[in-house]
Symmetry: C2
Subunit: 221 residues, 2 copies
DNA sequence: GTCTATATAATGATAGAC
DNA sequence: GTCTATCATTATATAGAC
């Protein structure tokens, strides 16, 4: 499923070239550049897709489809990555970079990718709770949404800070990221952060309506 | 420090209009649009700043300066927001939206904002540990970098998913965000996530070099 | 199906009048 | 200091030849 398919039809080659271009340089990559990468002319984009937006939509659908397939094939990640379970093969790296860029850009596509990852993580998390590996939450879905948002957000920010994402050695980039965050992740997941449970208790009481709101998160200036 | 300054010089009005435009619609906002918001002509940008890049740099510097001032004035956030201590006044909201967009875009400016927030959080965290509110970490700086990256990343992603950031009622947006994440945050910070400490112990042993790497984060496909 | 050539629109940069 | 007018570049969209 790589890019070195000279036997593909023009449409497929354009779409794959667009996926790589979008992942590597963002969604503003020009049609000329994409066509050049595919080894065809820019006019062919119109013939096959009509507009750039339609090309983009085709890329989104293809990436999501391939990501689904990939995840189904290799589901046995380490528990440390519960909420950012990302494949790391060359093919998987390309997909993840594309997805992270979609999330970073926002819009409908990014939202769809996020919802997909949240749904996956929710399954995984419920299973982990059932097996006694993870403490239960008072609101399982809210916790998963929160954790996925944090995990994916950290990746988005981390990659946004870097110079550029090398599609060819994405595994090394992921390794570097995990090397930096593994200890803090395990500490936090294992030992928490607060020494006492006051804040949580206060908030639970507030939610139960038996007291006034705890010290608000905001101070008007 | 708001935008309703008809008495400002052209340069300052352009810069403030640019900050609002960049925050509201991104850094691709055209010079013509910015000039229109400032109530001046587009040609004036060149006279005062030379290039768009220079205008952007002036905005970055101004935002960081104002953010510093704002934070110095109002440092007493709730502990739940240890690692995303953001002001929420109208002025503060504008600055934060600008900063989040800078981080999201990446590059030197985003990196500088991140480093600033990390340095702030490191001070805060060390103080919290010293006061016995927060458990100590085996690597305080790594933990703070991790937590800030996660907290800011979650905000970036959350805002990227939404339709658009209303600069005028940023406080409401922040309230909505915290309403969704407060319970999961407090649960995680208070109770952790794992039921046992196996993963952490394994990793610590690995770091100490007394054993082989724990089940790796990646499986080659 | 694929290409070349062009239309059209938008942007940043620039020059010069007031 | 400020404005108007224009240039040069680049992007997508489009039309038509092979």
């Amino acid at each position: 499923m790589s890019a070195a398919h000279d036997d593909l039809t023009g449409r497929a080659r354009l779409r794959d070239a667009a996926i790589e271009s979008f992942a590597a340089h963002g969604f503003d990559e020009s049609l000329r550049t994409i066509a050049a990468r595919a080894g065809v002319s820019a006019g062919l984009v119109r013939h096959h897709f009509g507009t750039k937006e339609a090309l983009r939509a085709a890329c989104d659908a293809t990436v999501l489809g391939r990501y689904r397939t990939l995840k189904t094939d290799s589901m046995d990640a380490a528990p440390q990555q519960l909420f950012a379970q990302l494949p790391s093969s060359r093919e998987g790296g390309l997909l993840i970079v594309y997805i992270l860029r979609s999330v970073r850009e926002g819009g409908a596509a990014g939202r769809e990718f996020m919802e997909h990852m949240i749904a996956e993580a929710l399954d995984f998390s419920r299973d982990a709770v059932a097996r006694g590996l993870v403490v239960p939450s008072r609101n399982e879905e809210a916790r998963v949404r929160f954790l996925v948002q944090q995990s994916i957000g950290a990746l988005v920010v981390s990659f946004a800070m870097g110079p550029e994402l090398p599609l060819d050695d994405f595994g090394a980039v992921m390794d570097r990221f995990y090397a930096q965050s593994m200890l803090p992740t395990l500490e936090l997941y294992t030992e928490g952060l607060f020494t006492r449970s006051d804040y949580l208790d206060e908030y639970l009481a507030y939610l139960a309506g038996t007291t006034n709101p705890p010290a608000g998160p905001r101070e008007k200036t």
